[in-house]
Subunit: 382 residues, 2 copies
């Protein structure tokens, strides 16, 4: 039980309702947990001591939406899209083919590489989804590999009806034998409820079957246009509905009166040349808003939570504080985790030190890599 | 004269009209200059050999517009702007006060820190401007310090009429004794031709006086609305007119029929919540378009050329090739430099290796730090 004192913190974002944001602060962690937080002048003695010389410290990012069980890339599709071809859900099939053809080792290596890239930029909790297998064996393989490397794993058998398959037959598989096989390895289930993927009835069937198996629910909804995703997520008590790019007034009301988090994925919207999501409408209505990367090789190939925050502030009119909360505490809420996303005593010691005096610099200095140091559960990552 | 072979280049962007873009390529540099470029299979023997294992290689960024002679920061102004206060030229005075109060050593340290940050992200040629001194002594000091640390220095005495000063008296100073003092230390002169800064007559006086002293001309124009900046820049044969956010049809025509480069500063437009500049209109009309960071503590506090490129592709509909050319070769054109911005034999060995197989990843992977290695004039920087 070696204790570490981080002192000289210029600005400490705790996300703790009592502690708030401190200046000239210090923090002690022991055995992977935060032990003490307060003014630098009254910090206790610890076994080791690190002076961060006025830098800002905040909880590590909680990236609550990624798709990292894949092989191959989609540079060509991206280039075509930038040349004017619209984004559709169908491109997923390209990654499905590449993923099925890859070895376990290749999929695990690719996952590890992307997780390491994210951690080096300050991400300390990461959710990832299956969904590029779409057979019982391939989905099971993805879930098993994911469980070895990330905090939270989501079954997304209902990502796309595999090309050539009958939709009803596929939904029966994804709610039957595939779900049975994968459920023991995951905490969450998700469905891509969108034109070209799964309609309302199919999405409901997927979510209800998963809930009956004891899985928590997440929904991809309202990405490419208004649709039933948000409504369904709220009705079924999903932890989060992700994308929320196109929302009706009724969708915003439903979210405001629910415990479902609206997770916005602005890097995806920019990478697919959609509108940016209506963050201000959601926040002003009292909805809990999270930000996530949606890292995947098709529609949003980034691990950069800082890019999401910069975009949210400069282009979606979120305040810095709202954006940082969305990428930490509210990401944790979207995963129904109370141990991460904040730096209260007892929280996991997931600590992000910026090469800047305040979190404002995440938007004030767009694109500049600002991660100075990262600890995850008290273990130095960078 | 030690020669170095870089081999295993997955994609080599030379910006050479004959060589173009090569795959499976190699490059040799000797004594700070590119000596040979061609297929990896026919590379000559060299004294040392580096295998970049399929990565993309391109010329280092040419950042043709920064303001790095400053002290202090403007976090508070940025936060107020994000809360809805509009951007005006007046904030410059805050930095003028901080800069005048700083020691030579503090100004030089701050400059070095920002140059190092830029170089670590792949920038190998950097222009910077005076303009936070606005007295003879302070402008001269800035120019002297800049000349020790960057490739290209611009006199921007006409950045703002200092608060309390009489505009005509100040223009007389900036075109007289101040210009006389600074001119021996700089290659360029610039004027902020904008509402709240200098009007058309004042701008013309500044530029004509500088030209008479043998300085090359640059203009800040059309940032906050349509105005005379572009027209004046073209008429007086300026190397570049920078910002170009609001352009009339006549402005675009004038640029298309000139050798004046239109330098776009998208990080500034986003940081001040302006529109993004009409890159497609300019490119489709045949204008030479450059991209630059405009790094300064008020309106665009970034050194990230990658962020500018990402924004240009995702949001301004430039192609990757157009954006990369704009940030390398056309940045060099905006500085009338033929030795940088390309990797033809004889060019300065300014080499940027990406942690990616192609330059497409600069937009495909928004926000992910992709700089793997950097050489400037053949000297490894990172």
């Amino acid at each position: 039980m070696i204790s570490t004192l981080i002192t000289g913190i210029g600005e400490l974002t705790t996300n703790d309702p009592e502690l708030g944001r401190l200046t000239d602060a210090a923090l002690v962690f022991t055995d992977g947990r935060v032990e003490w937080v307060g003014p630098a002048s009254s910090a206790p003695v610890a076994d080791s001591r690190i002076d961060v010389e006025g830098r800002a410290v905040l909880p590590g990012w909680v990236d609550s939406h990624t798709h990292l069980l894949f092989a191959g890339d989609r540079t060509t599709e991206f280039e075509a899209r930038m040349a004017g071809r619209p984004y559709t859900a169908g491109g997923i099939a390209v990654t499905v083919n590449a993923t099925r053809a890859a070895s376990d080792a290749d999929i695990a290596d690719n996952l590890r590489r992307h997780v390491a890239e994210a951690v080096a930029q300050g991400t300390t909790t990461l959710e990832t989804k299956t969904g590029y297998g779409l057979t019982v064996e391939d989905e099971l393989r993805s879930a098993r590999i994911a469980a070895q490397h990330v905090d939270e794993v989501t079954f997304l058998g209902a990502h796309l009806v595999p090309p050539g398959a009958d939709p009803d037959t596929y939904v029966a598989l994804a709610t039957g034998p595939m779900l049975d096989a994968v459920a023991p390895h995951v905490r969450w289930a998700d469905v891509f409820c969108e034109q070209g993927a799964f309609d309302e009835d199919q999405s409901r069937a997927v979510l209800e079957a998963a809930r009956a198996k004891g899985l928590g629910l997440r929904v991809h909804g309202n990405q490419l246009g208004e649709g039933p995703g948000v409504r369904l997520a709220v009705e079924l008590g999903a932890a989060s509905v992700d994308h929320c790019t196109y929302l009706s007034a009724a969708d915003v009301d439903a979210l405001a009166n629910s415990s479902t988090v609206a997770t916005l994925l602005p890097a995806c919207d920019l990478s697919t040349r959609q509108s940016l999501p209506p963050a201000r409408r959601l926040l002003d209505a009292g909805v809990t808003v999270a930000l996530a990367s949606n890292c995947n090789p098709g529609s949003s190939y980034t691990t950069s939570m800082a890019y999401c925050i910069t975009t949210a502030v400069l282009q979606m009119r979120m305040t810095i504080e709202e954006a940082v909360t969305a990428a930490t505490l509210n990401g944790a809420k979207a995963l129904r985790r109370s141990d991460v996303g904040h730096l209260s005593p007892g929280a996991r010691a997931d600590i992000h030190v910026l090469d800047a005096p305040s979190t404002t610099h995440l938007a004030y200095r767009p694109g500049v890599p600002l991660t100075h140091a990262v600890w995850r559960a008290g273990v130095r990552q960078r």
